[in-house]
């Protein structure tokens, strides 16, 4: 028997070529204005979910955990938040890798969008009928590139410079001088401030406007000691149709929380549904959260910033101290007001007490409904204690309570601006379970005034600095500051009063090279594993380059920051 076998082969090149039919790549995207929009919206989502939604530890670190603002109240001596710089900020740690990876991801995505936009000039048929859109999209893309680089250069110092998308494997990166990066940041923010829409002209709430770019441009100039330019950029914001809210406003005026017992304009700024209103002339860039919508995300406000009152256990008579975890109980009011916080950020004594002392009773930001301090036993079945203010030291027998846990986790002042009293959409049995859908300010006019004050101070003009600080203080009904008392420390204090839970304290302190000094002085974590100031060292004013990046960069050398 004979068996004949023949074999033929295919044309290898044609066989391995794929035309994507059901997924998006750069080869089939960017054909219509909507395609470019899609790419830009991807950048918004990355910024929100990586830095503003709150549930990631590193979000808290960005907003001041482990520095002068706060520390982890649930687990003050342990990881995951910064309690020991010596062991948690190693090149192999996850914290440095987080910011590096997320920052460069935005840089790459922005570079792709910028390259595609530049490859499709205004004359191209793609833009027919939509010419104005191209400039706005390019402005948004360049804004996000600068936004990412601002974080990278502040946290790491000299970083690799990329202004083109990476298309093939590249392993020969090197650190570029930070001046080069700052030049790029400046030119990107300037372009954005010229090409983004003005206030009220943006296509949807939460999209970027000129003022957002000018605000960040002002901060960038301050970081480079270019104070006159910073003042000019701040002027562009302040004169761009924005003003601080002075009177009560918004959609929740009939809905003041009964337990909080009142409200004011500062309270209204942070109530659900008040951030996108056209009457809100103070919000400049609002991060959007939406319940019940794909991609709507959520804000872990109560989880991050509030105290876990429901965990405090029993009152001295052995009855549950605070009731309100049962949705049917009439004394449910604690839960619906405060939801379910987890004390991820316990304010330092500096933020909780020191900054308020001079105007304790008149500063509206310290009012009962804005900074809630009036924690009381509320169990009607315990008549001896019902309605009394909680005092761990005097109410309980000595030694019967863990005082560290009591003050770090269970009871401390709750900044209500991060919460959403009475308005939660998820997890109804736990009043939201610690999350809400209040839109969050990424940029608010009050901060612009304080940045301009900082620029005036740098320029040697203390009177003008005091005038700007007093715009903020007058709204808050705090006593105005005298120009002789204006110092950088004072401005940082005012930022704490106005912007705690909002500002990226890590970036502010690092750009001023004050992370070490202020952490040593103000981080009042009683059990930080690293000791005083969580063991911070002067070289921690820059984070280390992640070791895995140095290892993977096989054809080049990324030199590590000093001290690591």
């Amino acid at each position: 028997m004979v068996v004949l076998v023949t074999m033929s082969s295919c044309d290898e090149d044609k066989l391995l070529n794929e035309t994507p039919l059901d997924f998006l790549t750069t080869s089939n995207l960017y054909r219509t204005p909507d395609d470019f929009e899609l790419a830009s919206l991807g950048l918004y989502e990355k910024a929100r979910d990586n830095f503003y939604a709150g549930s990631v530890n590193e979000n808290s670190i960005l907003k001041g955990s482990g520095s002068d603002f706060s520390y982890n109240g649930e687990n003050p001596a342990g990881t995951p938040f910064l309690s020991n710089y010596a062991t948690q900020l190693l090149p192999t740690s996850s914290i440095p890798l987080y910011f590096w990876t997320r920052g460069y991801q935005i840089v790459q995505f922005a570079n792709v969008l910028i390259a595609e936009l530049e490859a499709t000039p205004i004359e191209d048929e793609v833009w027919e009928g939509n010419e104005a859109q191209r400039a706005i999209l390019l402005g948004e893309a360049r804004f996000f590139r600068a936004f990412a680089y601002r974080m990278l250069v502040t946290i790491y110092g000299d970083v690799p410079y990329l202004d083109q998308p990476v298309k093939t494997v590249k392993t020969d990166f090197s650190r570029a001088d930070e001046d080069l990066i700052y030049d790029l940041i400046e030119s990107d923010f300037i372009f954005a401030s010229q090409n983004l829409p003005g206030r009220g002209d943006e296509s949807a709430p939460g999209r970027l406007t000129k003022a957002t770019a000018s605000h960040f441009l002002c901060e960038t100039y301050i970081a480079r000691n270019k104070f006159p330019e910073a003042i000019a950029a701040a002027n562009d914001v302040i004169d761009g149709g924005y003003s601080l809210m002075q009177a009560r406003f918004g959609t929740q005026l009939d809905n003041d929380d009964p337990l909080l017992g009142g409200g004011d304009v500062y309270y209204d700024l942070f109530r659900y549904g008040n951030q996108n209103l056209s009457e809100n002339t103070e919000g400049i860039w609002v991060i959007q959260f939406q319940n019940d919508v794909d991609g709507g995300s959520k804000y872990d406000g109560e989880r991050m910033w509030g105290n876990a009152y429901y965990r405090m256990g029993n009152d001295p008579d052995g009855k549950q101290a605070i009731v309100g975890d049962n949705p049917d109980a009439s004394s449910n009011i604690y839960l619906s007001t405060f939801s379910r916080p987890v004390a991820w950020n316990r304010s330092t004594n500096y933020v909780a007490y020191d900054i308020w002392r001079s105007d304790w009773n008149n500063d509206i930001r310290n009012a009962r409904h804005n900074m809630f301090r009036d924690w009381r036993y509320n169990n009607p079945d315990s008549p001896n204690w019902y309605g009394k203010k909680i005092d761990f030291v005097n109410d309980y027998p000595i030694g019967s309570r863990n005082l560290v846990r009591d003050t770090c986790q269970y009871i401390f002042p709750f900044p209500m601006k991060a919460a959403s009293p009475g308005i939660h959409f998820t997890d109804p049995n736990r009043s939201g379970g610690g999350t809400n859908h209040v839109d969050q300010y990424a940029v608010r006019l009050a901060e612009t005034y304080l940045l301009r004050a900082e620029a005036h101070l740098g320029n040697g003009e203390k009177e003008l600095a005091a005038a700007d600080i007093n715009v903020v203080r007058n709204r808050a009904k705090a006593t105005p500051v005298a120009s002789g008392d204006v110092t950088l420390d004072y401005i940082l204090d005012e930022r704490a009063r106005e912007l705690y839970t909002e500002e990226w304290r890590l970036i502010t302190l690092m750009r001023l090279n004050l992370l070490y000094d202020r952490t040593i002085m103000y981080l009042s974590n009683p059990v930080a594993a690293g000791g005083v100031g969580a063991g911070i060292q002067p070289y921690n004013n820059l984070f280390p380059i992640p070791q895995s990046e140095i290892d993977l960069n096989v054809n080049g050398e990324l030199i590590q920051n000093e001290g690591y």
Binding site: E12, L16, T25, T26, N75, A77, G78, T79, P80, N84, A86, T87, Q88, L90, P91, T92, L97, W100, T101, Y104, Q105, V107, Q108, F109, N111, P160, L162, P165, V166, K167, T168, V169, K170, T171, F173, A529, P546, Q547, S548, E549, I550, D551, L552, N553, V554, N555
Partner: protein, 331 residues
């Protein structure tokens, strides 16, 4: 990140084998030797996150796999009522990275690829597996930043005046997760209408081979180790109850390496006992065949691996042990 240059892997291999039968099938088996060389290996390569991506698919380098396999089947007992057969299998494979990026680079630490070594190499600081004691601490024999209850890390390069540990000088290849060799023994015994079979499986390490990381099982300071009660297996080091090979409660130390143990094991993997009802009885029930059986999988494992199961390694889930009771009927 896309790669427009993806192409096929090509493998050239040389096989040499002998099949043998002796004594009218009472002894049979085979011996095989192979040497396979794969070029343009398709792998997911980690790249610096500066690119905006964490990995890319690429055809890289050249890998050599050589080894030998051996099997021996014997009929040990063959009488009218009782029969016993067994089969013994053995295999050994050695894997080596022959070339990396076109031969210019010898190694890629970020991907743990080193020419001349197995592809699955483990690289890092050398964790010695013992912890510092209080006596050593108070005598000043402990490096800066370390405390009692921290693991000792070998200081490979001692330089005067510089930091004790540096990523360039004190990290090394610590072994591989590849097995040293495997063997299995299958036994089949039948006595009258009873039939028993059982299979013993083993993977062995030793030397540089079959290492796994157990750092994830050590009780840390965080939430999960409390929820999983990890301290019941690995008690914390405490000043009043010090251990030698587990760390203290808040154990972050400035420099750390993977804690490696061997995953070698022997496992009673498949056991099955069945009874065939004699044909005389079942014919009355108009059945052709009726048998009862009970079988079990993963009944017993002998190993020094302290985690859940040596074959799953560092994963946090055990291997399922199962029992099946059954009736088989043919109509």
């Amino acid at each position: 990140m896309g790669n427009s240059e993806l192409t096929w892997e090509t493998t050239t291999s040389l096989n040499f084998g002998i099949d043998y039968i002796f004594l009218k099938n009472k002894i049979s088996g085979s011996i095989d030797y192979y040497n396979a060389n794969t070029k343009d290996v398709l792998v997911s390569r980690s790249i610096p996150n500066i690119t905006g991506f964490s990995s890319i698919l690429e055809n890289i380098g050249e890998v050599e796999n050589k080894g030998f396999e051996f099997s021996l089947s014997t009929v040990n007992v063959d009488t009218r009522d009782f029969k016993w057969q067994s089969t013994f299998n053995f295999s050994l494979n050695r894997n080596k990275l022959v070339k990396l990026y076109g031969g210019e680079t010898d190694f890629d630490i970020g991907n743990s690829w080193f020419t001349g070594k197995p592809i699955n190499s483990i690289y890092g600081y050398n964790n010695l597996g013992v912890v510092y004691s209080e006596e050593e601490f108070f005598k000043g024999e402990v490096p800066n930043g370390f405390y009692p209850g921290n693991f000792k890390i070998k200081d490979i390069q001692t330089n005067e005046g510089s930091a004790t540990y540096s990523p360039d000088e004190d990290r090394k290849i610590l072994g591989t997760s590849d097995p040293n060799f495997r063997f299995g023994i299958n036994n089949n015994l039948s006595y009258k209408n009873f039939n028993l079979s059982f299979f013993i499986n083993s993977i062995q390490g030793g030397g540089d081979f079959y290492k796994g990381e157990i750092s994830g099982f050590l009780a840390g300071g965080g939430d999960y180790s409390r929820r999983r009660n990890q301290s019941a297996i690995f008690p914390y080091w405490r000043p009043n109850a010090p251990t030698t090979d587990t760390h203290g409660m808040y154990w972050s130390q400035p420099v750390n390496g993977p804690l490696l143990k061997y995953r070698s094991f022997v496992r009673l993997q498949d056991v099955s006992l069945s009874y065939d009802i004699p044909s005389g009885l079942i014919n009355k029930l108009t059945l052709k065949e009726l048998s009862f059986y009970v079988s079990g999988k993963n009944l017993a494992t002998w190993t020094n691996w302290p985690g859940w199961d040596p074959e799953v390694g560092s994963s946090n889930s055990p291997v399922m042990r199962s029992f099946i009771l059954g009736i088989k009927a043919t109509f």
